[in-house]
Amino acid sequence: MTATLPQQTAPPTPLGRALNRALRDALAEDPAVHVLGEDVGTLGGVFRITDGLAAEFGDERCTDTPLAEAGILGAAIGMAMYGLRPVIEMQFDAFAYPSFEQLASHAAKMRNRTRGALPMPLTVRIPYGGGIGGVEHHSDSSEAYYTATPGLHVVTPSTVADAYGLLRAAIASDDPVVFLEPKRLYWSKEPWDAESPHPVPELGRAVVRRPGTSATLIGYGPSVPVCLQAAEAAREEGWDLEVVDLRSLVPLDEETVVASVRRTGRAVVVHEAQGFGGPGGELAARLSERCFHHLEAPVLRVTGFDIPYPPPMLEQHHLPGVDRVLDAVARLQWESEWTSKEAR
């Protein structure tokens, strides 16, 4: 490991670049890996995540498909049936919907239907979420559809290192992974050296991004930086917040989250997706059950409103930001609110 540069001195690298590197390394290491999608070849994808791959590996390893998402996923399923390991790109969150039947009825179920004879080692990369001023249908947080579909893994990175590591792990997985890329983090940079070897984490492990004692903030993908900023700001108010990055919604690392919340006694779940029916409900329900006797206050959620994603000029009102997270933290019954019980 002498060749490994210390990450501190590594060059600032955008998250999108780490994803690109993960695809490149996967293509180089395993001939079964194939990248498919709209504009992924010559153009390198509208976000340039597949930049250079067609040039390096040829059109047959990185293929521009016709414009038909069900066809792309359906064909990828067939390729996986023949032993390949397809990685497909959906251009934006809402444009994955045409492939929903292929995802829910086939990708998610093929292993199960065939008692393991036809595993589905495929990765569906979906740029998701808002905050980039995108017009309608370009900013959906669609994770609830996928977490409600047994048979799928649902993974989303929040750091440059995880972008690389989790994507490699997703591609290496023998099960279908919906890999949600927080598009507004594509350009966010961290010191990271593309050339040195990088660890590939196990899927399904949350990580404590910031230890704390007062309460636990739980986020994933684009909400993790928000949680970290909120935790920073909360120090002024005397709160020492722990921040857990889920990294994977399915499988869910319950133990890490439960342990944190049992320790702090208070929790706020943060995500961009609509609150109603969003992943925060599942988390809050599980935590409320498993930490029942440890909770000093109800588990709160800070999420997008229950509305279609708004137009760019209004999105700042919709997105859960630092202030809203701090407001929620303030509502975690810090003093004896027990007395005001009947007032609720």
Partner: protein, 392 residues
């Protein structure tokens, strides 16, 4: 014999009749497109008109002059909108420069009561139809998703999810037919959009229901970076018509007079109960996919240059010149009108739109749910607190 006895099938004559003809009748040959795109501009021998058209008259002088004015305004609109993206008043603009003939012809071919179903690239068609350009640009400006009143203008919202507007067009056309209303619907889609399942389902429904709808494919050779050869192996996209039992027509999409004539005929036919038509217009997007795109990554300059030589405005101007109609006076008048549109647009886009965050909750349901009312109250509190100075 053993098997047949058991299955109860009857013994029949040694000369079996072919299976009963339950298939829908139809004359396949008449549904196929011509070999060469239909054109009317230019003086060389013109291609044979599609069967559908009959002997359409060549455009008269007045029509040509009008088309020229519209095309010039259209080009100017595209340029102005692109310029607005550079100044930051538009988030993004997918230009139809090079495709103005299709956009203008589409708008002009529509009758008052007809509906237009545009895709995200077709804002010019909506503007040419008479919708306020500022309202049309709402989507791309980001103040609301669809800025004009679709019922009043009979222009459906610009559709971003590709091809999804096509079944809507069919359903609306079908509803109008059931109501006995004499109108037709024009639905626009790109070459890339024809690969989507919704394209297929829409054309099939249209043909089975004989809905009064005309599909115009603007085949500009690219879906963002993906060239037509990676999109389809068909001899032409118009060849898809026969598979649904509807006529496919191929037209030079840069020849505004030809597109106009084909669409007018097809819409008229649809309006009077003749059923749906698929029109493929061969054209080219001269600019990048949007201002954010870099077209040099996927296409060569000489291809673009070849198409610039076939510019829709040049085609009309050449014909006008041949007829001696391209006078200084006309040119000045056309230029002034275009400039007026651009400056009005520029001016009105300069003022920031006034937005009400309460709108976020007002149009989710006819009546907001209890949960939405709470969320709206929460936002109002936040805004009030912020207004009182200082965050939180």
């Amino acid at each position: 014999m053993t098997v047949l006895d058991r299955s109860g099938a009857q013994q029949s004559s040694p000369h079996p009749a072919p299976p009963p003809a339950w298939r829908p009748a139809g004359d396949a040959a008449s549904l196929l497109p011509q070999d060469t795109p239909y054109r009317v501009l230019g003086s060389e021998p013109l291609p044979v008109p599609p069967a559908l058209l009959g002997d359409g008259p060549r455009p008269d002088d007045a029509e040509l002059l009008a088309l020229h004015g519209h095309l010039a305004k259209g080009r100017r609109y595209n340029e102005q909108a692109t310029a607005l993206t550079k100044q930051g008043s538009l988030a993004v603009y997918p230009s139809s420069t090079g495709q103005e003939a299709c956009q203008i012809a589409a708008a002009l071919a529509l009758a008052e009561d007809d509906w237009l179903f545009p895709s995200y690239r077709d804002s010019l068609a909506a503007v040419a139809r008479g919708v306020d350009p500022v309202e049309v640009l709402s989507l791309l400006r980001g103040d609301w998703h669809s800025g004009y009143d679709s019922r009043a203008t009979r222009v459906a919202p610009l559709s971003t999810p590709l091809a999804t507007q096509l079944p809507h067009a069919v359903g609306l056309a079908h509803a109008a037919r059931l109501a006995g209303d004499e109108l037709a619907v024009l639905a626009l889609v790109g070459d890339g959009g024809t690969s989507e399942g919704d394209f297929h389902e829409a054309l099939n429904f249209a043909a089975v229901w004989q809905a009064p709808v005309v599909f115009l494919v603007q085949n500009n050779g690219f879906a963002i970076s993906v060239p037509l050869a990676k999109q389809t192996a068909a001899p032409s996209l118009a060849h898809k018509g026969v598979g649904y039992g509807l006529p496919g027509v191929l037209v030079d999409g840069n020849d505004a007079a030809a597109v106009r004539q084909v669409l007018s005929t097809a819409l008229g036919r649809a309006r009077s109960g003749g059923g749906p038509v698929l029109v493929e217009a061969l054209t080219y997007r001269l600019e990048a996919h949007t201002n954010a795109d870099d077209a040099t990554r996927y296409r060569a300059d000489d291809e673009v240059a070849a198409w610039r030589a076939h510019d829709p405005i040049a085609l009309v101007e050449r014909e006008l010149t041949a007829r001696g109609l391209l006078t200084e006076a006309h040119a000045a008048q056309v230029g002034a009108a275009a400039e007026e549109l651009a400056s009005d647009l520029r001016g009105r886009m300069r003022t920031e739109p006034s937005l009400d965050p309460a709108d976020l909750f007002a149009h989710v349901y006819a009546r907001p749910t209890q949960q939405l009312r709470q969320q709206q109250a929460q936002l109002q509190e936040e805004l009030a607190a912020a207004a009182e100075g200082g965050p939180r």
